[in-house]
């Protein structure tokens, strides 16, 4: 059924249709609307589940761990600082092989504190052993949750569904909300791989020493490789049953004869596609590669999708200080560096809008791109600060100083 609703609402309805038995969450912007909606559904009994208001994200993930180990379908949602605060439990859930599904409403990490969107939070957990699926639209965000439970439970591995904070969570768009019967048909009852049961007791969470730890990790690695197939198959099955493509590993756009391909994750892909259409109209041979699955990283699919492109521009919504592009590293590892040129463009940090205007300007001159570029960087500002820093060590954090230079504290348009 088509609806014009806020992304958070769409996701909440999708999650509800997956019949989670235990939902727990701690409020953090911009994840709040999702769990608020779910808590209301539990309260008015349209959703039969236990909803726990916990005292922290660390507790949220811990409750999910306990619930999942006890054989219940468990869900939670978080973002930014919250994801980092629960980090220890995030890794633990993966290590224990518990098929928890978590929405991450992507948001920057402070300091300086920033409530707006980028991918720093999810990227910080890329090696936690969770699957990471990125939504391009609210429709996809909705669809990915339905797929996520099925993938997680088939592999007995937790799945993170990443959707851009505000850009998707707070955006009202048209979405096709499936019927409960469709979801039930697609998502089988949860059959836990291992479960806490007095009738068949086991000890879950043993201490493993050097004699077996490597093997445990190797098996986790193999499971991730297996996940690549499961994700692909699940997306195919979903398309067949719901009549629309959603999720999967990668999604190429106009890459057929493309010499330049822009690779990106999440909601920025739409803006990029519009930009690419304009550039195509001007005769540029350019395409887009949407990376829907970031963990496990679909190296083969990426290589294949890039086809004959000479130049890959990786648009990153996060930065690895001291290194550069995070996704770039994965792509570089997947390709033969000699054969292709790879440029990293850091864009949209902390809610900075990624506009067609800026993208177009940048991509039109793609040939001149240095290895690492910061889109829409206020060079005058940073140069002044750098000069100042060179001149004398100035007390106080650079962000404060620069804001003082800007003379503003609120966000601007664009």
């Amino acid at each position: 059924m088509l609806k014009q609703v806020e992304g958070s609402r769409a996701v909440a309805e999708a999650v509800a249709m997956c019949r989670p038995q235990v939902i727990c969450a701690y409020p953090i912007t911009p994840q709040t609307h999702i769990v608020e909606a779910l808590s209301a559904m539990v309260k008015d009994e349209t959703l039969n589940a236990e909803f726990l208001n916990v005292e922290s994200e660390f507790a949220a993930m811990s409750v999910a761990i306990g619930a999942s180990a006890a054989g219940a379908r468990a869900y939670t949602a978080t973002a930014s600082q919250g994801l980092l605060y629960m980090s220890e439990a995030v890794w633990n859930a993966a290590g224990l092989g518990l098929p928890i599904v978590m929405t991450v409403a992507n948001r920057a990490i402070g300091a300086p504190i920033n409530i707006w969107n980028d991918h720093s939070d999810a990227m910080s957990q890329r090696d936690a052993g969770w699957l990471q699926l990125y939504a391009e639209t609210n429709q996809e965000a909705l669809d990915l949750h339905v797929q996520a439970f099925r993938i997680a439970e088939e592999l007995s591995v937790p799945v993170m569904v990443c959707m851009d904070g505000f850009l998707l969570t707070h955006a009202s768009e048209r979405v096709d909300v499936p019927a409960q019967t469709q979801v039930d048909a697609f998502l089988p009852r949860y059959e836990p791989r291992q479960v806490l049961d007095p009738a068949e007791p086991v000890s879950i969470g043993a201490m493993v020493g050097p004699e077996a730890f490597t093997e445990v990790r190797y098996l986790a690695y193999q499971r991730m490789r297996q996940a690549l197939d499961v994700i692909g198959a699940t997306a195919a099955g979903f398309a067949g049953q719901f009549g629309r493509p959603s999720g999967g590993l990668v999604r190429p756009y106009r890459t057929g004869d493309a010499e330049i391909v822009v690779a990106a994750l999440g909601s920025v892909l739409g803006t990029v596609k519009d930009t690419v259409d304009e550039l195509r109209a001007d005769g540029h041979k350019i395409g887009v590669l949407g990376i829907n699955t970031y963990r496990p990283f679909p190296a083969d699919a990426v290589r294949e999708a890039l086809g004959g492109a000479r130049h890959v521009v990786v648009l990153e919504r996060a930065l690895a200080p001291g290194s550069g592009g995070i996704v770039t590293a994965d792509i570089r590892a997947a390709l033969d560096p000699q054969a292709r040129r790879i440029s990293t463009v850091i864009a949209g940090l902390g809610g900075r809008a990624v506009t067609r205007k800026s993208l177009r300007g940048l991509l039109a001159q793609a040939g001149e791109l240095p290895p690492l570029t910061f889109l829409d960087l206020d060079t005058g500002l940073v140069d002044r600060e750098l000069a100042r820093m060179r001149a004398a060590r100035r007390s106080g954090p650079s962000p404060e100083n620069m804001l003082r230079d800007l003379g503003i504290t609120a966000s601007r348009i664009g």
Binding site: L2, Q4, E6, T29, P30, I115, W116, N117, T137, D164, G165, F166, L167, L168, H170, A171, S172, E173, R174, S267, V268, L269, G270, T271, K273, D274, G351, A353, V354, T355, R356, K357, A410, S411, R412, I413, G414
Partner: protein, 198 residues
């Protein structure tokens, strides 16, 4: 694609207005996208929201920098420089006010635009009359329908009834209707005026 930017103050229902417009467009089978200028602003602070309407799926997620229309929910915001940023010569603007642009001190400004596309409507007072509270959102949308025909009044009313219920729905609908009539009449007057000038 038709892009609208709403300006108002926190608590005036700026985001709701954008969403109502989107769902009005949706009810006409068109694609729409509404979203706030994501900030941590509190009650009373200047805020914005955006709405895009198209017959194609809308892919971009950038803010509206070159609006086709502006809806100003609070005239006290009018003297902020960036308020009109990106509004083209053929752009539309609807201001919630009982006074004319002259009185609002915008006489100079509006001269650069098409007169019949820049209008004021006493949305707050209409809301006060029909809804009992000075929430101008619905009324402005009624007026916006009459000004731009981007969506029909029926769609606006449908969106209102979809979002609200009972007296609130009725009040908002009435305010929208009233604003629609007000703007339609004023616009026709301006058109006639323009024709007679020519």
């Amino acid at each position: 694609m038709f892009q609208v930017r709403f300006h108002g103050r926190g608590g005036q229902g700026v985001v709701t207005a954008a969403e109502l417009l989107a769902s009005a467009a949706f009810s006409e089978g068109r694609h729409a996208q509404a979203f706030p200028s994501f900030g941590s602003e509190r009650m009373g602070a200047p805020v914005m929201s955006f709405c895009r309407i198209d017959d194609q799926p809308i892919r971009t997620h950038e803010p509206v920098t070159e609006p086709d229309a502006l809806i100003i929910q609070d005239p006290t915001l009018l003297h902020q420089a960036e308020l009109f940023a990106g509004l083209g010569r053929d752009g539309y603007m609807l201001v919630n006010s009982a006074r004319g642009f002259g009185e609002l001190g915008l006489g100079e400004f509006v001269r650069d635009f098409r007169r019949d596309r820049l209008l004021v409507v006493p949305a707050s007072s209409l809301a006060l009359t029909h809804l009992g509270r000075p929430l101008p959102g619905a009324a402005l949308l009624g007026g916006f329908a009459a000004l731009t025909w981007a969506v029909s009044l029926d769609s606006v009313l449908a969106a209102i009834n979809d979002k609200f219920s009972g007296p609130v729905a009725d009040g908002n609908a009435e305010a929208a209707r009233a604003a629609f009539g007000f703007v339609r009449d004023e616009r026709e007057a301006l058109v006639r005026e323009a024709l007679s000038d020519a």
